[in-house]
């Protein structure tokens, strides 16, 4: 069992020693997850707000669809995206297979439902008295909308963080769409899968620790944003 301890020691050697392969995987992970998160937030937050704030026909049914999409398995998303962007697929001409962009597209399908659903929940659970208060203070519809948006910022932040967690740690999409290509699309999670496949458990553990260190960094940055 000494490979567990060896793994933790190796993690710091990999990070501090500037190991090229590790840093290449770190960059690939950050690029793919940042791309997918950017798209998911830009599309998902407004959609989530609309879903939570306004009343419209078929609202409950829409909510049901979004909530079901929370359970999308990553390997299934990976397979579907592969089928579409394979050279024999409908989007084959775009050269997206085995690229970071391809992974980011897949991860967007993973993150988008999380952002929409959690943003909507944040809006729904907003203090109802606040709305009353604002109206009684004579706020216009527009002002009401903007102050509601401002009120739910922490909920949206939590939605983003949850989605980010899923995106960073998924392996199905990266493996199927990215192909785990060394120096190109090998992410931290696919590298862990490979190292485990090679029987190099301690390196696998080390890479897992590396992933957690990055997640910690992201959370530290966001907590500053929050405290301001």
């Amino acid at each position: 069992m000494d490979f567990i301890l060896a793994g933790f020691i190796e993690a710091f050697q990999l990070l501090l020693g500037g190991d090229g392969e590790t840093w290449s995987a770190v960059t690939a992970t950050i690029k793919a997850s940042t791309g997918s998160m950017a798209v998911s937030l830009v599309l998902g937050v407004p959609l989530g707000f609309v879903l939570g704030y306004f009343d419209f026909p078929a609202k409950r049914q829409t909510r049901l669809v979004v909530d079901t999409a929370l359970a999308l398995p990553t390997v299934f998303i990976g397979l579907m995206v592969y089928a579409f962007i394979s050279n024999r697929g409908p989007l084959g001409g775009m050269g997206l297979l085995f690229t970071i962009s391809g992974i980011a597209i897949g991860q967007t399908f993973l993150a988008l439902p999380v952002v929409i659903a959690l943003s909507a929940t944040a809006v729904e659970s907003m203090d109802r008295h606040l709305k009353m208060l604002l109206i009684s203070l004579g706020a216009s519809r527009r002002e009401l909308l903007f102050s509601s948006l401002w009120e739910v910022r922490y909920g949206v932040l939590a939605a983003g963080l949850t989605a980010y967690g899923r995106v960073m740690t998924e392996v199905g999409i990266s493996m199927m769409v990215g192909g785990n290509i060394k120096w190109h699309t090998r992410t931290i999670t696919t590298a862990i899968a490979l190292e485990t496949g090679k029987g190099m458990f301690s390196t696998g553990i080390a890479l897992g620790v590396v992933l957690l260190v990055i997640a910690f960094g992201v959370n530290v940055c966001l907590s500053f944003l929050r405290s301001k």
């Binding site: 690029k31 940042t34 950017a38 394979s86 496949g197």
Partner: protein, 276 residues
Amino acid sequence: MKKKIVVNGVLLLAIILVLTLPTFATEKAVMMATTTSTDNTGLLDYLAPHFTKATGIDLKWTSVGTGKALKMGENCDVDVLLVHAPPAEKAYVENGFGINRREIMYNDFVIIGPERDPAGIKGKDVVTALDAIRDKGTVFASRGDDSGTNKKEISLWKATGKAVPEREKWYVQSGQGMLSTINIAAERNGYTMTDRGTYIKYADNMNGNPPLKVLVEGDKILLNQYSVLTINPERCKKAKIDQATAFSDWMAGDDAQGLIKDFKLLGKPLFVPNAK
């Protein structure tokens, strides 16, 4: 306060944009689908820099089972294949999916198991050994993933003249790569069949003292031939046929054949070059 967050947000977006800008790949590259054994043993990590140095072409590969590798070629998603399932490869060429099948190297399959050998297969021929494992009901880990190794293993069960095991309690189908499957066999104190290259890599991981030992080897039907196939450019217009051919030529050439011969772990060669 609001302003500050807006500024932060804009900054963040700018960083995101820079990070996600497509990196324009100008260098020449060839995309290969290959089997887990060539990747897990470290052979490709060892060969790739030599290939790039000799030809100026970047070698990218994705390692999957031979079944999936062939499928990726059929879908025109890769340019070249390095696989090990001769009957499937020949059918593949006949169906017009691939061209120019070239034998590059071989090693052999071995049946490995715990040292105390509960089914008593040590030194037996393949058919007798598999019959003994079946009769005793000792755990046997199978890849179960339609890889080249899996195809070979199924053909060996067929050679015993009885049905290929499927739902038997002792027959564990891992659906994973070779080293993971060996680890499963080791954890369950069972047998498995592996290519010798991966076994040596496994022994090397275990510091030369693996719990599973080679028990059956040297039978003629255990030969494991690796070949390179180029994707048929008439079906796949976008395939980088020149680069793929360059790889095929290089692998069959003296340089690569010499490198393969020198690729050793624990002082043992993992593959024997045999390009014609």
